[in-house]
Amino acid sequence: MSKLEKLSDSKVKLEVEVSPESFEHGLDHAFNQIKDDVEIKGFRKGKVTRKVYEQHKGVESLYNEAINHAIQEAYADAVQEYDVAVVAQPNIDLDVTKVEKGKGFTFTAEVAVKPDVQLGDYKGLKFEKQAVEVTEEEIDAEVDKLLQQNAELVLKEEGTLEESDTAIFDFEGFVDGEPFEGGKSENYELKIGSGQFIPGFEEKMIGMKEGEEKEIEVSFPEDYQAENLKGKDATFKVKLHEMKVKEVPELSDEFVKEMDNDLETVKELKEDAKERLTSQKEEENKNARVDFAVSEATKNATFELPLEMIEQEQKRLMDNVRQQAKQYNLELDQYLQFSGMKKEDFESKLMDDAEKSVSYNLVVEQIGLEEGIDATEEEITAKYKEIADQYNMELEQVKQAVNPAAVAHEVKYRKTIDFLVDNLDLEA
């Protein structure tokens, strides 16, 4: 029989006995697994009986697999028997030398379990309400953004190249009189002042005329990415073909009509912008409230978070990122390089995120439990519908693919959060 011992809030030790029968069963299982690959003289491959096999290779050769199998079964039974909420892989300890055919054995398993959560205050938390207000400036900025987006590049036929114009030109660069790799291009489009080229280059192009040729002398900065060009002086032969200037459309009723079929006048456009900004801010406000409610409730609760839970979550998050990277056809390391993150930073950040999300989850779950929040059949069905719509799948398909317990959990989680937010003490 097995025994349960509580080591700490989040760790238990199970002492489990494996009966001779279940060990025998394990041996059977182990033999069946390797049977097809055993070759013994006088027998076709896969036709060896277990007795003959044991005479030839010794029953000990089956122990490893058999023990694993037997432990797995016994462990699962024990977990069920004591109803422990296991959150990680168990740490199994077993004296292998004591294992013998025809006898059972005992092993101990230390495993992290879901910790007991002692909730603190979570109702009536004081939250400073932020007024949802949209200022004139914000509206203007929004409208301006729209104008900028609809700006067109127009050919500039007269005058000289100026800052923020776009130049279309050929160039060829030389270092010490020699052309270098990547230093040549034709019909290159460059916005002056965008800082795409090495410092000094763009400034020196200002003032050029259409069709003009010029030699520009610049030096590569010391921290340039190409080793062989760092700090070198270079001469660029430049020929300017065209200049383009950005033309921002004027804000008028005509522009509005062209932009949006539903809107007629500038005034309407502004109102529309205001509406959008307001709902955006409300959304932010709501998110802030949810965030506050959950993080505050978590802060007030006491529990001991097992490291294994965090690590598991971190691994899950990491896999998510890896998936994302895959969509760009990148390995994780490359992806990190592109997003300019160091691996260690990234890992510790994920660790923090993981800890947060795990503790939030625990606390919300506990609150849900204590408040008796449960998901009804209709709510679960509604959630299934939502998922089905989201992925454009048939309802029945979704029901098969997604575990109802997970959906119920999700619904419960949402409801609990709503409950928390509703119970915030909003200060005006």
């Binding site: 006088g42 027998f43 076709r44 036709k47 009986t49 007795k51 003959v52 005479q55």
Partner: protein, 94 residues
Amino acid sequence: MLASEIIKHPIITEKSMLQVEEQNKYTFNVDKRANKIEIKKAVEELFDVKVVKVNKMRTAPKRKRVGQHEGFKPVIVKAIVQLAEGDNIEIFAA
């Protein structure tokens, strides 16, 4: 001849194991000079069982060549021994 000289070793193959299981018949490699009666006595003495019947057979001499030298694979004599009901022989462990 001694019993241990007559019975050389058991023959353990798929086929022989099947016979053990289904018919309680055990197969041995025996000395080619031994006759059925001697084999019966030897098995009874060595394994402390009751033998009901013995069938004896020679394997065919197979041609074998090693380089330019030609010869035959050794002929072995097999004896299939039917034991009385309830008896068994440990080394076959079936």
